[in-house]
Symmetry: C2
Subunit: 255 residues, 2 copies
């Protein structure tokens, strides 16, 4: 089978627990300290019928040259992307939300964003196939396995994708530091929304900005530069989460 690697104990545990990833085998370093997480990986591997082998640390270093593997690497089938049409069909009849990354280039940022998306209950993440990074081992490690808990859509044209989302009742929100409206001035709780976040330096492409129903900024207390894109995404998504929690509390009180 066509394989990729996952490294990092949490990322491997998440993938084993989620059970929908095809595993080839798991390699554990001979010299890895037998800690709780390694034991958990062995237990989950046995349960799921996944082979694990003890190998020299050098073998792991050859597969992951940055040496951040924490003594364990899993060889797995690459992540499955899903088609936009299938995603939209799956989401029909419930409130839905996606995050669109317009050319984000740093794998650590993409991984951290996917992790925040899952924590915030976002249903899908959309990546352009030709700009920015796609899912790789660093994204998977940084996401702490979150990529197994969200639909990932790869697209050749973000313009077409956004138009299709609009036709299907998604409101398009663009994060843009030139915007007049603050991010907390939108009610995210009873709409389907697609939040576009731009590349680290260039921001969101003009062609996509034009398609946005709302443009929002995160107000800053100093003139300094700007936020890291993964932090900016987390701030907006958790404004949505706060709004939802407050709304649910009001509902409970009224019942």
């Amino acid at each position: 089978m066509d394989t990729t690697i996952i490294y990092g104990k949490n990322a491997i545990i998440e993938a084993l627990e989620k059970c929908d990833r095809e595993f080839n085998k798991i390699l554990i370093s001979n010299s890895a300290r037998a800690d709780v997480k390694i034991e958990q990986i062995k237990k989950l591997a046995k349960k799921n019928g996944v082979i694990f082998q003890f190998v020299a640390k050098e073998k792991l270093n050859a597969l992951e040259p940055e040496g951040k593997h924490q003594g364990v690497i899993a060889q797995v089938a690459p992540i499955k992307y899903i088609e936009l049409e299938d995603f939209i069909a799956q989401q029909k009849g419930k409130l839905s939300s996606v995050v669109i990354l317009d050319g984000v280039e740093d794998s650590h940022n993409v991984g951290a964003i996917i992790r925040s998306c899952v924590c915030a209950g976002i249903k899908g993440i959309i990546l352009p196939s030709r700009r920015g990074v796609l899912i790789n081992s660093t994204v998977e490690k940084t996401s702490a396995g979150a990529i197994n808990h969200i639909s990932i859509i790869k697209t050749n044209s973000l313009v077409n994708t956004i138009q299709k989302l609009k036709e299907n009742d998604y409101w398009v929100i663009a994060s843009d530091h030139h915007a007049e409206q603050n991010h907390y001035e939108i009610d995210y709780t009873d709409i389907n929304f697609a939040l576009i976040m731009g590349a680290e330096h260039a921001g969101i492409s003009k062609s996509l900005l034009k398609l946005a129903d709302f443009k929002v900024k995160i107000p800053m207390l100093t003139n300094f530069n700007s936020l890291n894109v993964s932090n900016a995404t987390a701030i907006i998504l958790f404004e949505y989460v706060s709004q939802l929690c407050k709304k649910n509390k009001r509902k409970e009180k009224n019942e």
Copy 2:
């Protein structure tokens, strides 16, 4: 002089603009593309009387082996930490806020947190000298130069530091996912506050948790794991910023 390096164009520009860092010299790769930012660095260096030299790329690679220097490295005096007592004295008479990192180990996270702190108008950041990372070149690069815009305090004892802050009218807020109160249920706008964020895996030490006046959690919409510490910090800090902006707007309306 005792020197360290700064790499990354933005980090170097920030340090040159801030003018309070002692520069030894700036090394620019012969093969660096002469872009807007390199030009800006040369201009600022001339203005500040800082020597710059063109050198072979290999020389830069030797100073920064990960190859993330973007063709330019500055040799500078190490960052100046300030004493807690001096910080507290400087802040007297105005509302103040600090972030305390209890053993955060990833330089990228520390850098991104400092960047968010500056954007959120936080006045100081407190790092323990023996746990977690101190300021290094990666922190400086990831902070995009933000470390030049905030007071940085290094302490041998976080317990003593927190007690001293409490004696000086700071309210201590600990981010703890076992907390009952949500982070948005605190009014941050008319208190001095010290926000403690814990290490990536272990969270906040028990001895510090005991000293907290408030414990807050960020509610999640799924059971998945947890947020990256830099994202969690950004979410809480920008709840404070949102509260402050909303309050100022109400004030303006009433005037």
